[in-house]
């Protein structure tokens, strides 16, 4: 069943059409939620909530935007709401995407010429770093760099300007660079410490 037909049938409450829409989009929505929260149980809750909201509103969908964009917008909002609740803050999108404005955004630390990330980023440390991003940065980074959305689509999903999306992405990448460098340095320190205690134990 093509998506357009599934949408039409779902608008009249057809169970098979709902399931078809779920099957078409569940992987990307679940993936988005999982990358955003880094936790499978929460990602499952959020995926269910996003689809629930979608299906409650599907009768009002008029096709002004792509269905997937509409769904992702709902999913991102559900995730951001959850992250706001977790942090105990009622914050605006601007606030959650601009946490470092007092200090002029991400630090422009161009040092460490001898340390490069290339070849040392794996999924585990990338997810750990993404987990530490402010929610707004995280959303734009996951949508653009992980899921491959264009800035105009992200602007629509996030309800912001294209320029804002580009700016948040850049800040997210710069912050990730710092976090990944910190992780590498921390790992190197631990390895040196372990090697030191190991050689000390042999004496």
């Amino acid at each position: 069943m093509p998506e357009s037909e599934a949408i039409r049938l779902a608008q009249s409450g057809d169970a098979a059409a709902f399931e078809r829409l779920y099957q078409l989009h569940n992987r990307r929505v679940y993936s988005l939620c999982l990358r955003m929260v880094g936790n499978t149980a929460e990602a499952e809750d959020l995926t269910q909530e996003a689809f629930l909201q979608l299906f409650r509103k599907v009768a009002t969908f008029r096709g002004e935007s792509a269905f997937s964009t509409w769904l992702h917008r709902l999913a991102v909002n559900v995730v951001l709401m959850k992250l706001r609740k977790k942090s105990g803050m009622e914050t605006s999108l601007e606030q959650i995407t601009e946490p470092d404005e007092d200090s002029g955004g991400p630090r422009r630390d161009f040092g460490s010429p001898d340390l490069r990330l290339s070849g040392s980023i794996d999924r585990v440390n990338l997810q750990r770093a993404v987990d530490q991003l402010p929610p707004g940065y995280k959303s734009v980074f996951v949508l653009h760099d992980v899921q491959g959305y264009e800035h105009n689509e992200i602007a629509h999903i996030m309800g912001c300007s294209i320029g804002n999306s580009k700016s948040q992405l850049h800040k997210a990448r710069m912050r990730l660079r710092e976090l990944l460098h910190e992780a590498i340095r921390s790992k190197a320190r631990e390895e040196r410490k372990a090697a030191g205690s190991s050689s000390g134990g042999e004496d």
């Binding site: 169970a15 569940n26 299906f55 409650r56 990448r173």
Partner: protein, 237 residues
């Protein structure tokens, strides 16, 4: 060619990554190891993120749709003629259930087994298990307290075990005439029962541990599968 400073380049970095590259910035990058490192890092982050999604296909668990469907049915948002006569349509969403609702669900289990014909017994029981499984996994993501979990475990699993015992007795009565079959059933069920005991112990020790609850549900499922198979075999004689 005139070049720019690192600070000036950092101001152009965002547009550089977006593909807009001024000749002066290009000249600076050619001669600056530090800025080359930054660009290398940003490109590494971008390519790692992209391959993350492409290489790792994430399949959401089937219970999301099961739970979602129950909620949609409960809210009257979907209509499926086939499900209207199905008892599962009356089950409220697990994640929002109170103890009263759980008791209601256990009562629903009782109603399923009351008066069902033997051929339908196994299939009905599996439907009931799916509902309880949804309840367990749904509540699992609600991050309840250990006390809540202890109460939940007792209110859900005790009647469930009771129902399983009833089905087990019924199965043995079907096969009582054949001592060899009865002995084999006892042996297989003892293995599954031991597994259930271990899983229940784990859940009691860590009521909030979702993995432990998943294993417990899986153990009940195994017992139900075994009983279903026995029932079908009994019917086939």
């Amino acid at each position: 060619m005139s070049t720019i400073s690192c600070n000036e380049f950092s101001n152009q970095l965002e547009s550089w990554m977006d593909g807009v590259r001024q000749p002066a910035a290009e000249a600076h990058v050619r001669s600056c190891a530090s800025c080359q490192n930054v660009l290398s890092d940003l490109e590494a982050i971008h390519s790692s993120a992209r391959s993350w999604e492409v290489d790792e296909v994430i399949e959401p668990p089937a219970r999301i749709w099961a739970s979602l469907r129950l909620q949609l049915e409960a809210e009257g948002l979907i209509h499926d003629p086939a499900s209207l006569s199905h008892p599962s349509t009356a089950i409220p969403l697990a994640g929002n259930q109170s103890h009263g609702a759980l008791e209601h669900q256990v009562g629903w289990l009782d109603r399923i087994f009351a008066g069902v014909a033997r051929p339908a017994l196994a299939g009905s029981y599996l439907v009931a298990l799916v509902a309880v499984g949804v309840a367990m996994s749904g509540l699992g993501s609600q991050r309840g307290t250990d006390d809540r979990w202890t109460n939940f475990t007792q209110s859900t699993t005790v009647p469930l075990r009771s129902q399983l015992d009833n089905v087990e007795h019924a199965v043995f009565s079907f096969n009582a005439a054949d001592p060899a079959v009865t002995a084999s059933l006892h042996k297989n069920l003892a293995i599954v029962d031991n597994y259930i005991v271990l899983c229940e112990k784990s859940v009691n020790e860590e009521p909030g541990n979702e993995v432990a609850r998943d294993y417990l549900y899986s153990a009940y499922q195994q017992k139900a599968d075994l009983l279903a198979q026995m029932t079908e075999n009994g019917d086939g004689r």
